[in-house]
């Protein structure tokens, strides 16, 4: 849960952060675009968000038939 929630929050906030900064957020001069790029890979690596959800639901006693 922590991995999933943390990484998706990072992705969402860096996306919003770029939106707030407008054109500057997209510029390589500022770090926000790096956060945006970095956060995307974090929701995929070390067990993707989809895998985390599968693990969580399994822990809730639900099995894929």
């Amino acid at each position: 849960m922590a991995k999933l929630f943390g990484s998706e929050t990072y992705a969402r906030l860096s996306n919003q952060g770029m939106q707030i900064m407008g054109g500057y957020g997209y510029s390589l001069e500022y770090d926000m675009q790096r956060h945006f790029r970095d956060s995307r890979i974090i929701t995929v690596s070390a067990g993707s968000s989809q895998m985390q959800r599968t693990v969580i639901s399994r822990a809730m006693g639900l099995k894929v038939v």
Binding site: M1, Q52, V64
Partner: protein, 384 residues
């Protein structure tokens, strides 16, 4: 961070068992009739839940913020409306314990020894909801008493309460600086009850209008000094959102999640339990994530409060975040839980539609989520 003492764990177990035995069988009926559950209030009293924050000699356990969170959460899993009785009662006692003088404690605490007293927290007015500093109910000193005039609305646990923590203007027109806090006893001349709201949810906890027409309240019932009302509200009152609205909605979310998960294991469609479909699994997983994130936020905020070492500028936004996030979570989780149960979830034969209606109420009361966001953004941005 979420570390409960042995005492708190025992309290949790006790309340969990109590609500399962006594409250759960009554929850649907309480919602249906919208009648105040005196039987439940009695059981709460007998088990010390109405006096939690009082010292031991008056039947309390000196409950700290976290203990209150635990108790409200457990009750709300089954019936948030019943949790409100404990909530508003502790809200008054909490302010009295922290903001009352020795004489007042000596005078009021013994009245609670019978463990059957219920209290209400009285702030909102018809034209003063989120904008609490603009309240207009007046309390003007005249001889040995303050003369109250004005109307209060949306008062939870109103009418059935014995004591009311009332915020009123001792110096009208001066905004926050003119606000004071009083303890008002039921039954004094000039203090009556108006309309009872017919609400969508949180039914069984009466939400009523209070009317003051030249009601005389003894001078000694003023808490602290004149003009201290706003400070009490922000210093003690706002913190209770962690164990009030936030813990209530955490309980609602948990109750809904538990029910929907059980249902998903049993309900067969297309020849297998719907819990075996990934679409349902992912919904449940997302609901669980939100609920656990909310729990983490609440107990972290509560821990900060109990430590007493953090500045109020650190604690205040945490409390608002806990309230806002948890209530939004409960709304989402209960809405999705009804969805998972489909047509059955929509009927009154199952508890989920009630939980969804209850969840909406908590997004509104105890400072709307919009006001919480104002507080959060003000703390983020500072003066600029």
């Amino acid at each position: 961070m979420i570390h409960f003492t042995e005492e708190q764990k025992m309290m949790q177990e006790m309340v969990r068992k109590l609500v399962k035995d006594k409250v759960a069988p009554r929850a649907a009926e309480i919602d249906e009739t919208d009648e105040f559950p005196w039987d439940i209030a009695k059981v709460f009293g007998e088990n010390g839940l109405l006096n939690l924050v009082l010292p031991e000699e008056y039947g309390g356990v000196n409950a700290n913020n976290t203990t209150l969170c635990i108790v409200i959460e457990e009750i709300a899993k089954v019936s948030p409306a019943c949790g409100l009785t404990v909530f508003t009662t502790q809200a008054l006692l909490n302010v009295l314990v922290r903001g009352g003088n020795e004489e007042q404690k000596n005078r009021f605490f013994p009245k609670f020894a019978s463990a059957d007293k219920i209290c209400a927290f009285v702030l909102t007015e018809p034209n003063s909801g989120s904008d609490a500093a603009s309240i207009q109910t007046k309390a003007i000193l005249d001889g040995d008493s303050y003369v109250f005039n004005g109307n209060k609305i949306f008062i939870s646990t109103g009418e059935v309460s014995d004591f009311y923590l009332v915020f009123a203007m001792t110096r009208p027109g001066e905004g926050a600086k003119g606000m004071s806090a009083f303890i008002v006893e039921k039954g004094i001349p000039g203090f009556s009850f108006g309309k009872k709201e017919n609400k969508m949810g949180l039914r069984g906890n009466p939400t009523v209008e209070l009317i003051f027409e030249d009601a005389r309240v003894p001078k000694e019932n003023l808490l602290g000094e004149e003009g201290r009302g706003w400070k009490m509200l922000t210093e003690y009152g706002n913190l209770m959102r962690t164990w009030g609205a936030a813990s209530t909605s955490l309980g609602i979310a948990e109750g809904a999640l538990e029910y929907a998960t059980g249902y998903a294991r049993e309900r067969i469609q297309f020849g297998r339990p719907i819990g075996s479909f990934q679409a349902i699994q992912f919904m449940l997983a997302d609901m669980a994530i939100l609920t656990e994130a909310a729990r983490s936020l609440i107990y972290r905020a509560s821990w900060m409060i109990d430590q007493g070492t953090e500045s109020s500028s650190k604690i205040e936004p945490m409390v608002s975040m806990a309230k806002c996030f948890t209530t939004d979570t409960a709304m989402k989780v209960t809405t999705d839980a009804v969805q998972i149960l489909g047509g059955y979830g929509y009927t009154k034969d199952y508890p989920l539609e009630r939980m969804m209606r209850d969840a909406k109420g908590v997004q509104i009361f105890d400072g709307t989520n919009q006001i919480q966001r104002v507080i959060i953004s003000r703390n983020l941005l500072g003066k600029f």
